[in-house]
C-alpha cells in the first residue's frame, strides 16, 4: 500500500520547489537549476522507496541514499525537512556563518549518509555499501544520484566496472540527465553519449525514463532489480530549472539566484501549478 497517491506526490514536488527557491533566495546562494531538476527523483525516493525516516535512519539494514551531485543539496534539504529529520526553519541558516546547512551535504545534518560534493564519489561509496549488504546477506538497496556533467569523472567508471563484476543488483545509480552543466550543454563540453550503450557495455541494466514524471519514477523504482545480478542505471531525463518557465533549460540557472522580481514570478508560477493540482483532488 503506497502512502501517497501520484497526485499527492506531484503536489509535494511543487511544494519542495517553492521551499528550495525560498531558502536559496534567503541565502542568496545555491544550485537552483539542478535542485529543481532532481526534485521529483528525491520526492519519489524518500516518500515512496527508501522507507528511511528519522526513526529508521540508524538501522543497519536501512536503504541508503548517497547524493553524489552534492551541489543540488537544497532539494535534499527540503525533502529531509519534510521527512522530519529537522525543522524546515533550520534552512533559514542555509550557507550562513556557522550553519551546518552548507552548500553540499554533510553528516552533521540529520539524515545525510556521506559528505559529498566533489564529483565522482557517490558511485564508489555506494558500490562499497552495496557490497557490504551482499556480504551480510542483507536485502537493502543503495541509491546514488549523479549529474550528467559528472559522468566525465573517471571514478564513476572505475565503480561501474567493479559493481558489474560483483553483480551488485542492489545498487542503483540515477542519472539526473538535465543535459546542462556549468559551461553549457554536455554535448558541447565533453559529450557523455551514448550513455545507455556505455553503461550496458559496462554490464549494467539500463532504464531510460522521464525523470520529472512521478508515475514513471515510481514504476521504475518498484521493479528494481529488474535484472538479477546486474546493477541498475536509471537515465532520468529531466529539465534543468524544472517548474519555473524562465529557468527551464537555461544554463545560467546552474547556480543563479533570482532577483526579487524573478523570485515573485517563480512563486506565482509554482502556486498556479499547485492550485491546478489541488483542484484535481477528488
Amino acid at each position: 500500500m503506497q502512502k501517497y497517491t501520484d497526485l499527492e506526490l506531484q503536489i509535494k514536488s511543487v511544494k519542495y520547489r517553492l521551499a528550495l527557491l525560498k531558502y536559496i533566495k534567503m541565502a542568496n546562494a545555491g544550485h537552483t537549476g539542478g535542485s529543481l531538476s532532481c526534485t521529483d527523483i528525491l520526492n519519489v525516493l524518500y516518500n515512496d522507496v527508501l522507507q528511511v525516516t528519522p526513526d529508521t535512519f540508524h538501522d543497519a539494514h536501512r536503504n541508503r541514499y548517497i547524493q553524489s551531485k552534492g551541489h543540488s543539496v537544497e532539494a535534499l534539504y527540503v525533502v529531509l525537512a519534510d521527512m522530519g529529520f529537522f525543522p524546515e526553519s533550520d534552512l533559514e541558516t542555509l550557507c550562513k556563518y556557522k550553519s551546518k546547512y552548507v552548500g553540499h551535504p554533510t553528516r552533521k545534518v540529520n539524515g545525510i549518509e556521506f559528505n559529498t560534493g566533489a564529483l565522482g564519489h557517490g558511485m564508489p561509496i555506494s558500490a562499497g555499501i552495496a557490497l557490504a549488504a551482499k556480504k551480510d546477506k542483507a536485502d537493502y538497496k543503495v541509491f546514488t544520484l549523479i549529474g550528467d556533467g559528472e559522468l566525465a569523472e573517471g571514478s564513476n567508471w572505475e565503480a561501474a566496472m567493479m559493481a558489474a563484476h560483483y553483480k551488485l543488483d542492489n545498487f542503483i545509480t540515477i542519472l539526473d540527465h538535465n543535459t546542462l552543466q556549468i559551461t553549457g550543454h554536455n554535448v558541447d563540453v565533453c559529450s557523455p553519449h551514448p550513455i545507455d550503450e556505455k553503461m550496458k557495455a559496462f554490464g549494467w541494466h539500463v532504464v531510460s525514463i522521464d525523470g520529472n514524471n512521478i508515475v514513471q519514477l515510481r514504476e521504475t523504482f518498484s521493479h528494481i532489480p529488474e535484472v538479477k545480478d546486474k546493477p541498475t542505471f536509471v537515465i532520468a531525463n529531466t529539465v534543468k530549472g524544472k517548474g519555473v518557465s524562465y529557468m527551464e533549460g537555461v544554463k545560467k540557472w546552474h547556480h543563479g539566484v533570482p532577483t526579487d522580481e524573478q523570485y515573485n514570478q517563480a512563486v506565482e508560477e509554482l502556486n498556479v501549478e499547485l492550485f491546478r493540482l489541488r483542484s484535481l483532488i477528488n
Binding site: 553528516r107 556521506f114 559528505n115 566533489a118 564508489p124 561509496i125 557490497l131 565503480a159 567493479m162
Partner: protein, 309 residues
C-alpha cells in the same frame, strides 16, 4: 633480526581476521605486493579486489566502513596517498569513516623503480588533512601494534609499511598507543626524532655516538600526525640539539612538524632535518638511496657531530 614490517602487517591481519569476520582487506591488484596472498587463501570472503583503481578502492572502503565493516584498504603508498587523495579527504576523513589505509612498499622501498613508485610526499599531504592519523611504524613490534590499534580505532588511520627486514629495537616501555611516541633510548646531548625504517639507523648512530661519549636519545615518532608534542618538547628541553630523520621529502614531513612545534614553543636549539632533499631522487636500491642521503648509522653520526660542534 626480525621480519619486514609488511610481513607483520599480513600476519597481524590474519590473526585479527581469524577472530573477526568483519575484517576486510580491500586491494587494488596489490595482494601480492601487500603480502596478502596467505590472507586471501585463508579468508577468501574477506578480501575484496577492485582492480587497479585506487580512487574506487578508497571510495569502496569508505562505503564498506559506513556499513559496519573493519576495512584495511591496501595499495602501494605511492599511489594510495595521492591518486586517491580526494577520496581520502572526503569519503574517509571528512565523512569520518574508520577506514585503515595501508600504504605498502612505502618511501623508497621500490627504490630502483624510479620516482613514480616512491612515496616521499604522503605524510606531507595527509598532515594537511583534518581527521586522519598518520602512522609510520619503526619495527615489527610497532607494525603489529599499529595494525591492532587501527582495527580498534573509531577514526581514519593511514599506516605505511616498507619491505626491509627490520631489527628488533629496544624501547623503554613495551606499550603502544597511536599518538604517543616510543622512547628507544634516553640521552641528554642530542636527540634523534625518527620514524619508520629510519629509526634503526638513528639507533645505530646513537650507539656510535655513545662510544664517543655523546649521550643520545632516540625517539620513534611512529605517529607523525597527531604529533606527540610532549615527547618532542621534553627531548628538546634536555638535549642540546635535535635531528629529525625520515624516509620522506624534507618538505612537509616529520622534520617540519617538529621544527614548527619547537619554534612556536620558543625552543631555539641546533636543529637538522635529515630526509630526501627536494631534488629528483637518486636512482638505486633503498639502501643505496639511504646511503646517498646520509640516512645510515655513519651518516647520522656525522650529522650529529657537525650539529653539536
Amino acid at each position: 633480526m626480525g621480519k619486514a614490517n609488511l610481513d607483520v602487517y599480513s600476519e597481524t591481519l590474519i590473526e585479527l581476521a581469524s577472530a573477526d569476520k568483519n575484517i576486510l582487506a580491500v586491494t587494488s591488484d596489490s595482494r601480492g605486493s601487500g603480502k596478502l596472498v596467505p590472507f586471501a587463501d585463508m579468508f577468501p570472503d574477506q578480501i575484496i579486489e577492485v582492480g587497479i583503481a585506487e580512487q574506487n578502492l578508497v571510495g569502496v572502503a569508505a562505503g564498506l566502513a559506513s556499513a559496519g565493516k573493519c576495512v584495511f584498504a591496501t595499495s602501494p603508498a605511492c599511489f594510495l596517498a595521492t591518486r586517491s587523495l580526494e577520496q581520502i579527504k572526503n569519503d574517509v576523513a571528512y565523512s569520518n569513516q574508520p577506514v585503515t589505509l595501508v600504504g605498502i612498499s612505502a618511501g623508497v622501498s621500490y627504490g630502483a623503480l624510479g620516482s613514480t613508485h616512491h612515496s616521499l610526499h604522503d605524510v606531507a599531504v595527509l598532515r594537511a588533512i583534518n581527521n586522519i592519523d598518520v602512522v609510520v611504524p619503526a619495527d615489527n613490534f610497532e607494525a603489529c601494534e599499529a595494525v591492532k590499534a587501527a582495527a580498534k580505532s573509531s577514526k581514519p588511520v593511514f599506516i605505511k609499511f616498507g619491505k626491509k627486514i627490520m631489527p628488533h629495537l629496544p624501547r623503554l616501555e613495551q606499550t603502544y598507543e597511536i599518538g604517543k611516541a616510543s622512547i628507544i633510548c634516553e640521552g641528554t646531548d642530542v636527540v634523534f626524532i625518527a620514524c619508520g625504517e629510519t629509526v634503526a639507523p638513528a639507533y645505530e648512530a646513537a650507539m656510535l655516538l655513545e662510544e664517543k661519549g655523546i649521550s643520545v636519545e632516540v625517539i620513534s615518532m611512529h605517529t607523525v600526525n597527531p604529533l606527540d608534542k610532549t615527547a618532542v618538547l621534553n627531548a628538546a628541553k634536555k638535549c642540546k640539539a635535535v635531528i629529525t630523520v625520515e624516509e620522506h621529502s624534507v618538505n612537509g614531513g616529520l622534520g617540519e612538524a617538529c621544527a614548527s612545534l619547537l619554534m612556536q614553543s620558543g625552543v631555539f636549539i641546533p636543529f637538522k632535518i635529515v630526509g630526501i632533499p627536494d631534488e629528483e631522487t637518486v636512482a638505486g636500491s633503498q639502501n643505496e638511496i639511504f646511503g646517498h642521503y646520509g640516512i645510515t648509522g655513519e651518516g647520522l653520526f656525522q650529522s650529529a657531530i657537525i650539529l653539536l660542534e
